[in-house]
């Protein structure tokens, strides 16, 4: 853990509470997911669910930043999902976040990434302002990675994707490393900003017992579409430009020549012949 928090904060960092937000999504715990063949949306009932594993890195980074700022920060967790997603919010609180909100309303069901991002941006407007918003790289169910950049765009703040390190923060600005093809890009941005963090950024902690107790005792208010003053035409299926029209299981087969290798020499000779036929050697 040595040096994991970076250099001690300089004077400018302290003195003002920084307001941080973390976006977390609850996802199915297993790969076995049921999909509604009619709407193409996920059936969430009777399924074990967990906080999106990649969101733990976002939570951890927010908590580390708070520690780096000698506690001069407040962390708000925001999640959108069914009632049971309150558990994901509590998990984040048990890791060190201060409070959490669940955005839950039947009218939000079936939201694609744009409708999800719109609802989250409305919640952020309502609960904010925030100096810095953390999101995961992507989820393990929808797996698009589109929500973070879309939320930032709807809030009209800069988005920094693939963030693998916070180099500096203070004075209304942040310097980060972005893990991109071929290396790391160092980028500076003014605050407020939204960061989508990658796995490389840290090693998420396990919740402590006192963290768990705090999470159990913390009340997580549930917000409806009305609470966030959402435009009804922008949420749920109605507000989603994309439609899942078909779900199927990957089936890729080739009718190849499969031979037994009881006679290894003969098998390799036949393989060489095959590679010659195909013009590979």
């Amino acid at each position: 853990m040595e040096g994991a928090f970076g250099p001690p904060p300089d004077r400018r960092d302290v003195g003002r509470m920084m307001r941080l937000a973390v976006l977390v999504k609850q996802v199915p715990a297993t790969d076995k997911v049921k999909i509604d063949p009619e709407t193409g949306t996920m059936l969430r009932t009777e399924m074990e669910a967990v906080i999106n594993p990649l969101d733990l890195y976002a939570v951890e980074e927010a908590v580390r930043l708070k520690e780096r700022l000698s506690g001069e920060a407040e962390i708000t967790v925001i999640s959108m999902g069914p009632a049971m997603a309150i558990e994901a919010v509590k998990d984040a609180i048990s890791m060190g976040c201060d409070r959490g909100y669940l955005l839950s309303d039947r009218r939000l069901a079936g939201s694609d990434t744009l409708a999800t991002a719109y609802a989250l941006s409305q919640a952020i407007r309502k609960l904010g302002p925030f100096d810095l918003i953390f999101a995961g790289e992507r989820t393990t169910d929808g797996e698009t990675g589109q929500v973070g950049p879309a939320v930032a765009t709807l809030l009209d703040i800069p988005v920094l994707t693939y963030v693998s390190k916070i180099e500096e923060i203070g004075d209304g600005r942040i310097v980060v490393h972005r893990a991109i093809e071929g290396g790391h890009e160092v980028v500076e941005s003014p605050l407020p900003a939204l960061l989508c963090v990658v796995k490389e950024i840290n090693e998420p902690r396990l919740p402590t017992l006192s963290g768990k107790i705090k999470a159990r005792e913390t009340e997580v208010p549930v917000l409806t579409a009305d609470d966030i003053e959402a435009d009804e035409s922008m949420i749920g299926l109605k507000g989603s430009p994309t439609r899942v029209v078909k779900i199927f299981y990957p089936k890729i087969t080739r009718e190849g020549e499969i031979i037994r290798g009881d006679d290894p020499e003969g098998a390799v000779d036949r393989l060489i012949e095959f590679l010659r036929e195909r013009g590979i050697i």
Binding site: V33, T140, G183, L271
Partner: protein, 340 residues
């Protein structure tokens, strides 16, 4: 929104350090089939600096039109100016389809652009087709850990936008006789302003592995039993003029770096030959290699899933087969050497 006001297929060209990147040509291969099916033009838009002498190549690779925006502020990807310029271009020319590669750049700019244009975006597609009658773009992508494939449409918004997995399709052969139009677009300086600033770049040689550009990929899995046995695969890859890939199991065991991982959470490859050795063929692995031209598998389990996707397979012990194969290839090379 009047859908019929939107016509044509667009791809987002990509450049890195001032050189057009091959993902741009892969996208043109996808775009060409869509545009031909719809009977419309295929255009590429590319943003960068000092690109003028390279953009003709995009025509040779399938574009009918190339929109070039050349400005120092576009030399490296930057969200603000890219988003402003692309939004303006889409509003002016109204393509019905706009696709980009699912690189870190494509995955960043496309959701920003889609949110600005309030249209749909499908992530990381491995298949794209159009329904000619309805003119809908059929976007197919793996989701939920590769366990399902979903086909997604954007029924009432345009452009229909998608990112496409790099290497999910080979570029079209270069055709220097192709003709097309190159249009340099100019914008007000204000369009190029950015809230963020690039301070530097730390190159990491290990972050790139040659596996994505190789014509032959020799991949090893858990069946190799030990990291040292990968030496065999490197030798085989060298004899075949290729690179070494691996399953996630092999990477998780620490036998080979992550940059070699093939599959859903690793690289996608489409080599001429994919040789899977001691790999069972889990769906997540197949997601990264099933479009290879020729697939050969060596596995001791006759029921291994990998055989279902193979053009040629040997049911046997890799520790017997691979050394023999290396020996035979060496002999062949030796003979070729003598013949010269």
């Amino acid at each position: 929104m009047k859908l019929e006001e939107y016509r044509g297929v667009w791809t987002l060209g990509e450049q890195r350090d001032g050189r057009i990147h091959t993902v741009s040509y892969e996208l043109l291969a996808w775009g060409r089939s869509l545009a031909d099916k719809l009977g419309v033009e295929l255009a590429t838009v590319i943003l960068g600096h000092n690109l003028a002498d390279q953009v003709q190549e995009l025509i040779y690779r399938g574009a009918d039109k190339v929109y070039v925006v050349d400005h120092p502020a576009l030399a490296h990807f930057s969200v603000d100016p890219y988003a402003r310029v692309l939004t303006a271009l889409v509003r002016e020319y109204r393509p019905e389809i706009f696709i980009a590669s699912a690189t870190t750049t494509g995955r960043t700019i496309m959701p920003v652009l889609a949110a600005k244009l309030r249209t749909g975006l499908t992530a990381d597609c491995t298949g794209l087709d159009v329904d000619v009658e309805s003119r809908q773009l059929l976007q197919t992508r793996p989701a939920i850990g590769g366990n399902v494939m979903a086909t997604i449409i954007t029924p009432n918004h345009r452009p229909a936008m998608a990112t496409v997995r790099p290497k999910s399709r080979r570029p079209l052969p270069r055709d220097a006789s192709r003709k097309g139009e190159i249009i340099f677009k100019r914008f007000d300086e204000k369009m190029f302003e950015s809230r963020t600033r690039r301070l530097g770049f730390i190159r990491d040689e290990t972050a790139e592995s040659p596996v994505q550009d190789a014509d032959v990929v020799v991949a090893g899995g858990k069946g190799l039993k030990d990291g040292r046995n990968f030496d065999m695969l490197f030798e085989l890859a060298e004899l075949l003029g290729g690179a070494v890939g691996a399953s996630r199991m092999a990477v998780d065991m620490g036998w080979i770096p992550y940059s070699h991982q093939i599959g859903l959470s690793g690289k996608t490859v489409t080599p001429r030959l994919y040789l899977a050795i001691g790999i069972s063929g889990a769906v997540q692995h197949l997601a990264g290699m099933s479009s290879s031209e020729v697939i050969v598998a060596i596995n001791k389990d006759p029921d291994a899933n990998i055989f279902k996707v193979s053009d040629f397979g040997i049911i046997g012990d890799l520790f017997e087969i691979v050394p023999l194969l290396i020996k035979r290839l060496r002999e062949i090379k030796g003979k070729e050497g003598e013949g010269k």
